[in-house]
Amino acid sequence: MSLGIPDSPRVVVQGITGREAGMVVAQMHAYGTRVAAGVTPGKEGAQVDAVPVFDTVAAARADTGGAPFDISIVYVPPFAAVDAVSEAVEAGIGLLLVVTENIPLHDAIRLHAIAREAHASVIGPNSVGLIVPSRRIKLGAIGGDRPDRAFVPGRVGVISRSGGLTAEVGLQLRRRGLGVSTAVSIGGDALIGLEPADVARALGDDDETDVIVYVGEPGTSMEERLADAITSGEITKPVVALILGEFMEDFPQGTVFGHAGAVIERSQGSPREKKRRLERAGAMVAESLDEAISHVESEVSR
């Protein structure tokens, strides 16, 4: 199993008493992923979908058997995210899924620095989650209340900047009789933890994945780093890539479309350049979502 997630992960949700977190915990339980504990300062003693709530991550750990949590899903408000991530890594958590949107940039930099020092991995911020259909692992809102509609077990690894498109790719694969090994919404922000290249490396090492499909967006240089990782042979599976937002090149630099990260600055981050780089590295670059799915199909049947 990739990304260091065990078959039955011990999951804690920070900020569990929020409206969205409560809804997602119920969805996860319905899918088959159990949440062991929740944390909201000042709400110890409460329950969310039968999950006990604690004031601190340390207390949650101690009172639920004492073993470290495998993953924390972070649903706290934007200004509380650095604190939450810092608390999680101090409690020995090695993988964080940060759902929170609109985290200030200085906080995002600190959050990633804290995780880096603790050798913890961060998915997100601004991720809708991760799903492993064969093991009924759903972390976060990914797939909504009917995850089976978009995600059936299979051998395609999905990585997407956009949460909604992570599910759309799953749905389109299912229509063609294909399924998903692991799908990861890596987050649409400019500063995210696990980048496309990191997740592609992990899926490359995953024996349940045959092909990787990546959906990228304008802005940042993450696709360029993915191309470098393919070129250097670090990614051992075929990669199908779709880079959205070519139309943005006709707009003045700095115009923001879609996600906060999707902004072309000083001619960096242009979709056409990303496509050229990925193509040269040997990825199959698609011109549309339909074509991306066809590329996956042809790769799987080879």
Partner: protein, 408 residues
Amino acid sequence: MSRLLEHDAKLLLAEAGIPVPRGQVVTSAAAAGSFARLLPGGVVIKALVPANRRAKSGLVVFAAGAAVEVEAARLLSRTFEDAPIERLLVEEQVAIESELFFSIALDKARKSVVALASLVGGIEIEQTSAESPQLVGTSELDSLRGVQPHSFRQLWSALGLSGPALPAITDVCVRATRVFFESEATILELNPLALVTAADGSAPRVVAVGAVMAVDDNALARHPELAPLALPDRGWRPPTPLERRAMDVAAFEPYRGTARFIELDGDIALLVGGGGGSLVFFDAVQKAGGRPACYTEIGGNPSAEKVRQLTGVVLSCAGVRGLLVGHNITNNTQVDLIAAGVVQALEDLGMDARSFPVVAREVGTHDEAGRAIFEEASVEYLGEESTMDDAARLIVSRVAAAGTAAAT
């Protein structure tokens, strides 16, 4: 990202103990003239607009004597991005010995904060850094533990700076870094940073002659003192009346649903989402030969009323001949509410989907109810069996066919 006007940035620098030129903000040529007469030498007149590279756009001029009022009047008669220039910053001209460059910015690839320095500052710095990168030094700053002065001493010393100028410059860099972190800036650039030698041989003065500063919108809520100074950086054009209407829609029920809208000049209105889905539809419509009348993004489970209002905006774009409604399969957005809002807006405007092409591609929460609402109103509904590209091609062909029918 929001920009601070230069005088606001300099006020923050001055409060942090960084010398800035004597200056005054004026709104008339006469006031520019009277301030200039208080100064011994010539002045620099800068248009106060939220933009980079003003010198290259003629928005910064040097003048002395009677020319001050003439130049000020000329700048005040100009416009910037269709908006009149209303305020000028008039500053003393500093006798510059050498023009340095110092900048602190977020490095998104490294996920860190980086300081850049060069002994060759001025308006050509971008060219310098592109053509002679060895003239620009870089230092990564520790955002967890703060920065010690030696980081900057090393940076400048490696570039060749020595003597009493070195501690003087280092001190300014330390202070600027404090401003950067305390304001949660995304960039703080001092350029030119002037070195002014004292005639009596005492320590040289360092003056921030030019300053550029931008701050993070997501952090403004905890900087109430900066919020009123921060100007949204569109860098393109002021919002159109329809875009202003869309902003009002977005502000309505601010905690439920995102709504963004940019007016364009095509003929197919797009009411699409989410963040990535809207990019897919936009690319797909263009690649199918269609011309979008707008870029929109609606998501985050908006209410039917919010959808109705935004649809009203989208359909008011000049020359609209068709509407595409669509999302990627939704995680939580309710399709029935999208359908109800769209159908209501069509009714409001007296538009009939039997003659005005409307294609909807909506899959997800409550899509069966959504399908019923769309189909009842004669909207062409595509569900789970379709792709987003199918929907884009369909609306383009429907609009083209309607055009042909109208021509015959």
